[in-house]
Amino acid sequence: MVDRIADPWGERTPYGPGQEWPVRVDGYLADGRTEADVERWVQSASVLHSNGDALDIAVADGRIVGVRGRAVDRVNRGRVDPKDLYGWQANHSPDRLTRPLVRDGDRLVETDWDTAMGRVVARSKELLDGPGGWGHFGFHTSGQLFLEEYYTLGVIGKAGLGTPHMDGNTRLCTATAAAAMKASFGTDGQPGSYTDVDHCDAIALWGHNVAETQTVLWMRMLDRRSGPNPPAMLAVDPRATPVAREADLHLAVRNGTNMALLNGLLREIVQRGWYDSDYVEAHTVGFAELCRIVDGYPARRVADICDVPAADVERAAELLGTSQRLLSTVLQGFYQSNQATAAACAVNNLHLIRGMIGRPGAGIYQMNGQPTAQNTRETGADGDLPGLRNWDNTAHIEELARLWNVDVDTIPHWAPPTHAMQVFRYAEQGSIKLLWISATNPAVSLPELRRIRRILARPELFVVVQDLFLTETAELADVVLPAATWGEKTGTFTSVDRTVHLSDKAVDPPGEARADLDIFLDYARRMDFRDRDGQPLIRWSRPEEVFEAWKECSRGRPCDYTGITYEKLRGDSGIQWPCTDEHPDGTERLYTDGVFNTDPDYCETYGHDLSTGAEFTEPEYRAKEPRGRAFLHTVDYQPSPEVPDDEHPLLLTTGRTVYQFHTRTKTGRAPQLDQAAPDVWVEFNPADAARLGIAEGDLVGVSSARGAIQARARLCGIRPGVVFVPFHYGYFDQDPADRTPRAANELTITGWDPVSKQPIFKVAAVAVTKLADGRGVPSPAPTVGGSAPPADATCRRPSADRPPRPPA
């Protein structure tokens, strides 16, 4: 088998348009085991990226010993991402939390569940007593839990405590995808299907380094590219990622200028007559306004703003405008950048005016960054309401109140649910007094970490952290609850293209660790939440019972799960929602008839002004008479809130490597992955490096107005004027007494998109100084992916066979 650290994408299985993607089964068994040694294979899917790849967990002697891709599944046809091949080993890490911890002065000490939960419940009851008690609670959850856990948490928050302050790490990864789909199509819900790769004749990747963020989807694209009649490819990214190197056309735009580029491309497409006037007429609202705005963006002006050749803008428009089956994918280069929602909507506009939606090959993926992010959006554990309901539509709130048997006004619906950055702001100001963080690590992942640490360390703030390990966030907690993880509990989750998978429990969790669902249910029981008739608010106890309850909540909504059962998910492929009695096999594509979810009684939002986030009212929305047509939202380009100046002359962008996920809580504990990308680095264009006197491997200080880090320099293909730092690296594996600042988010801005409220990670102004000579030793940056050095450079090549580093 191919060394999947050296080659994360493995061997090609070429195929042509309209053909079925060939099966290729990937797997890894540790310690020289063979399949004959495996006692049981337990069905699951990936939780280390958002692609939703189906895999089976190999069990022997009561332990996980490996994984194997599920050939039967529509998403991956047997393939497995390298993070999934090796990442499961973190389950067995000796530093797993096995007992609850409570704070005793400046220490965390082990205790039993009764004591730990007793403290959480005592503080909760104290805070809930009195008017406005709900407002003292904040929840910051994850993109890694299961649907059943999110739904339970959502009911606890909305109908138990009655607080709108619930969001999560998904705000950093997926909020703009949701906001853009709501704005354009009326509700959340991915129009496309992964099978659109099989049919398309052009692929446009908008700020999406899919080769490193969703490797299996990239394998699918590469297999089409190496087969007959391959699709054309356009990449928009300031870095020379594998996607940019593969693409026929790469636009390395200046960070923060996506909106200008899209307006320019749309202008070309309109002016050259490459739009579908019948589709526009029948299925969209706002074309005249779109034309009026994009008219101000001739290719020359776009070239100036974005710093790309005008001829390339025209070539890109031609590639997009002359394709017959166009597939677009969008991710953090848009979602975490300036004018995020507006730029993501502009990609929707491109497809709408070309009629490239709802048929094979003509699709959009507004991607997610995390494996179960989709489910937080569906169930309302983030800034949404369960079942993709509209917080401003009283009839929708009444449905939830009936379902949960509570008074309508128990459920907060006076404003949208509070977004994550505002939750932390309320905690900073002291009005939120209890912050419950589950399965995520804001002390490394949120912007401007010095501020986040200061908030979490406030003595007045009672912090509950529920996790597998003593993360950088857990170190600051008052109570730490040891959680079970993937493979140790049962539940479902859903991929970017709406494919629902079941993940069964394979082994027991270590020590006293408990499933997140059981922790939430225990809290609900101890808090004694009641419905309107005095009965327990939450009456379920097993994951499958929650799933059945969730199905009722989803009934009649776009994410209708009523046709899915655990039984149906076992054995065969995952199933795409909506899945109902009428569509028992699920639904491959949405909007096949060009009728969108914009009906005022059905839609998830009455809309926003995209430049300010100002909300429109129901009467204003009705006056637009959407009648099932999609909205073409278009705005002018506005410069980023932070641009380089004399003091901070470079632009910082942050992102991922293929070998790590999130803050390395798991991947940093899998030897092969840790070894492949062991430490932080900072990328420079060789021209900038030469000007600054920096060589490969030199130790460099990077500073912004908010903080500073140290990292070794990698010279590579990033655009001039821009530096890149991966956001994975925190401090858990450094000596607490001697921590060197290295987290990218020490530098980033506290700021967010006005509509999606997604933080802006792609446009911080920084200064750089050389601290020490590298003496010819290359930086720890992988030589694979966006950080690949020029072909003639000598750098350490990653390999799965290299022995792990000895323990520190």
């Binding site: 003292h136 404003a415 100001q429 967010w752």
Partner: protein
């Protein structure tokens, strides 16, 4: 013709609103959305004032004396804290509302005097003032329960 006075009123209201947006942005810089969007809206007000200026000059020629008590003071400085933010946004709201109704009045006069150029400016700008009102209302609605019911 008294149009010059109302153009002057609107011009000064836009200048004052720009200044107030900037003061609120600075005073509440720890609220990043307030800081960023107030700066952005201040620039919109600047642009409105700039577009109005030639008409102020044009109609001022030969206008009668300005009537008494034309101008009113709606903003006397910023406050601090959660309720202070709410109250500051409310000041901005009232100032934007004054601009909003004054655009309407000036627009009516532009029809009366058959000034197509002035009408074009009104039509372009009054929608942006309406968005300012809408944004301030949105932000205040979200902030009010926490500031008035929850915070100590």
């Amino acid at each position: 013709m008294h149009l010059a006075h109302y153009l002057g009123l609107l011009h000064r209201a836009q200048v004052n609103l720009a200044d107030a947006f900037r003061q609120v942005a600075t005073a509440h810089a720890e609220e990043p959305d307030i800081q960023h969007l107030c700066q952005q809206q201040a620039q919109r007000c600047d642009a409105h004032a700039e577009q109005l200026h030639p008409f102020v000059v044009h109609y001022a020629a030969g206008a009668p004396d300005e009537p008494d008590r034309l101008h009113s003071q709606l903003f006397t400085g910023t406050r601090t804290g959660g309720i202070g933010l709410l109250r500051d946004l409310q000041d901005l709201y009232l100032m934007a509302a004054e601009c909003d109704i004054t655009w309407t009045v000036v627009g009516q006069a532009a029809y009366g005097v058959r000034d197509e150029d002035l009408l074009a400016v009104v039509l372009r700008c009054e929608g942006e003032t309406a968005v300012q009102l809408k944004w301030l209302r949105t932000r205040m609605k979200a902030a009010a329960p926490q500031a008035l019911v929850v915070a100590d």
